[in-house]
């Protein structure tokens, strides 16, 4: 945007303005302080019922959004957090349904490639055609990803049910995660080439699933 004035070399002769030489701001002796003293102080913030309420709304909104499935946790960050803290914090997590996007509104390519997971009891839908090898690989990956992602309420139904058993194994999986990243890279290339096929084969209709995040 607009160029800032600080230290700008003027395109004109400053002296011709009469602001040259002696009338320039006092020449500095020695380095200037990092934070020069300022003449004016900020005006006090407005305070009142409206302001207090909006402050509360802001903080509540931030808190809620952090606990919603739309807040995607960084898997690698998890290791830093003490487990016991997490367990208690989990109590505060929104007990919420999984987030199931309406795939009519999203590009189909954004559906998670988790064939099995998409199948919910009682929902009629066809599966995406993925080569068996591909599918298992992806599945494994997602499983592990999801586990590492502990403390995060967005999980598929199967995942939630499995949870109690998962917690003990958590530590090991975190260590494994590094390797996984590399695998992911390979997977990315593979699926990149596979993908065109996916889309050609899987027409709109058989992708009308209920894939859940």
């Amino acid at each position: 945007m607009a160029g800032k004035g600080r230290g700008v070399a003027f395109t004109f002769n400053i002296e011709a303005l009469g602001i040259g030489r002696g009338s320039m701001p006092e020449a500095r002796v020695g380095p200037s302080p990092l934070f020069p003293t300022i003449e004016f102080k900020p005006v006090p913030l407005k305070a009142g019922e409206d302001e207090d309420y909006m402050l509360a709304l802001k903080q509540e909104m931030r808190g809620t959004m952090q606990r919603l499935p739309h807040n995607i946790k960084t898997p690698t960050n998890k290791a830093e957090v003490e487990k016991y803290t997490e367990r208690y914090l989990k109590l505060k997590q929104i007990e919420d349904e999984d987030w199931t996007p309406d795939w009519n509104l999203f590009p189909k390519e954004l559906m998670p490639q988790t064939k099995k997971r998409q199948v919910k009891k009682g929902t009629k839908k066809k599966t995406v055609k993925i080569s068996p090898k591909d599918a298992t690989e992806v599945l494994n990956k997602l499983d592990e990803l999801a586990k590492t992602d502990d403390g995060n309420p967005e999980k598929s139904d199967d995942e939630t049910e499995k949870k109690p058993g998962n917690e003990d194994g958590e530590e090991i999986e975190e260590e494994e995660y590094e390797e996984e990243d590399i695998e992911e890279e390979n997977d990315y290339i593979e699926s990149y080439f596979d993908n065109g096929e996916d889309f050609d084969a899987g027409s709109d209709d058989n992708m009308d699933g209920e894939a859940t995040y």
Binding site: R6, L34, I38, K41, P42, P44, L45, K46
Partner: protein, 258 residues
């Protein structure tokens, strides 16, 4: 005047002297150069002339001019006046002339120094007058139109009020007061309307009259200036991770503690 008798000559001279001034007599001893410089200064009128310009016009060396100027000054034929247009610059004019406003700066200058405090005091007093008028109008409970109209003051009214206050050592003209009222407009505190006035109405000029009134600001100070960043002198140098950053900012710390 060689054909005249000395007596006649003396009589004529005496007559002239009484008519014109003393200057011819005083000039008696001066040479042509002095006359030339004098002439140039006289032509400059009450705006005066700078010594360097005298040099250009007379083509005399500066040292010579300085000598002449000194001489003329000592004879009280001319005087040096400091000009407000440029500090440390003296202009010369005939001794008996009243310097022009452009040289003295008018009421706002005392000895070529701009009396800033004087201006600000007048600015505040004028505003106080207009504000009290607006307050009285509001409290009058009259119809909205009457309220508005009675909140206005003419420049003449303001002028009269200031004169009666007696805070000014010098005589202020109505123009002077309007200059002050204009600064209040630029302060965003006063509005001006021009209305047609009947010929001869007090304070009207060319059938027009200026009306002033105090007004309230439309906005409270805006949100930005309620933060230290809104006033920060090193705002553009600030970035996270830098020497000046939001985390290390002392203005921010001070503000948070307050």
């Amino acid at each position: 005047m060689p054909h005249l008798e000395p007596q006649q000559r003396a009589g004529a001279i005496n007559k002239l002297l009484s008519l014109v001034s003393l200057r011819t007599w005083k000039m008696k001893g001066s040479d042509n150069q002095e006359k030339l410089v004098y002439q140039i200064i006289e032509d400059a009128g009450n705006k005066g002339i700078w010594s360097r310009d005298i040099r250009f016009k007379s083509n005399l060396p500066l040292t010579e001019i300085n000598k002449i100027l000194k001489n003329l000054e000592s004879k009280k034929l001319i005087k040096a006046v400091k000009s407000v247009a440029a500090s440390k610059k003296k202009v010369y004019m005939l001794y008996n002339l009243q310097p022009d406003r452009s040289v003295t700066g008018g009421a706002w200058y005392s000895d070529q120094d701009f009396e800033s405090e004087f201006v600000e005091v007048l600015n505040q007093q004028c505003f106080k007058f207009l504000q009290s008028k607006a307050d009285a109008a509001r409290d009058s409970q009259q119809s909205p139109m009457v309220q508005r109209n009675s909140s206005f003051a003419t420049s003449h009214e303001v002028w009269k009020y200031i004169c009666e206050l007696g805070i000014s050592k010098v005589d202020l003209s109505m123009d002077d007061i309007e200059t002050i009222l204009n600064t209040l407009i630029y302060d965003g505190k006063v509005e001006m309307t021009v209305i047609a006035a009947k010929e001869g109405t007090v304070g009207s000029v060319d059938g027009q009259m200026k009306l002033f009134r105090g007004v309230n600001p439309v906005l409270q100070p805006t949100g930005l200036v309620k933060t230290p960043c809104g006033l920060c002198p090193v705002f553009d140098d600030c970035h996270e991770g830098g020497e000046i950053s939001p985390s290390s900012c002392v203005y921010m710390s001070e503000w948070l503690e307050f």
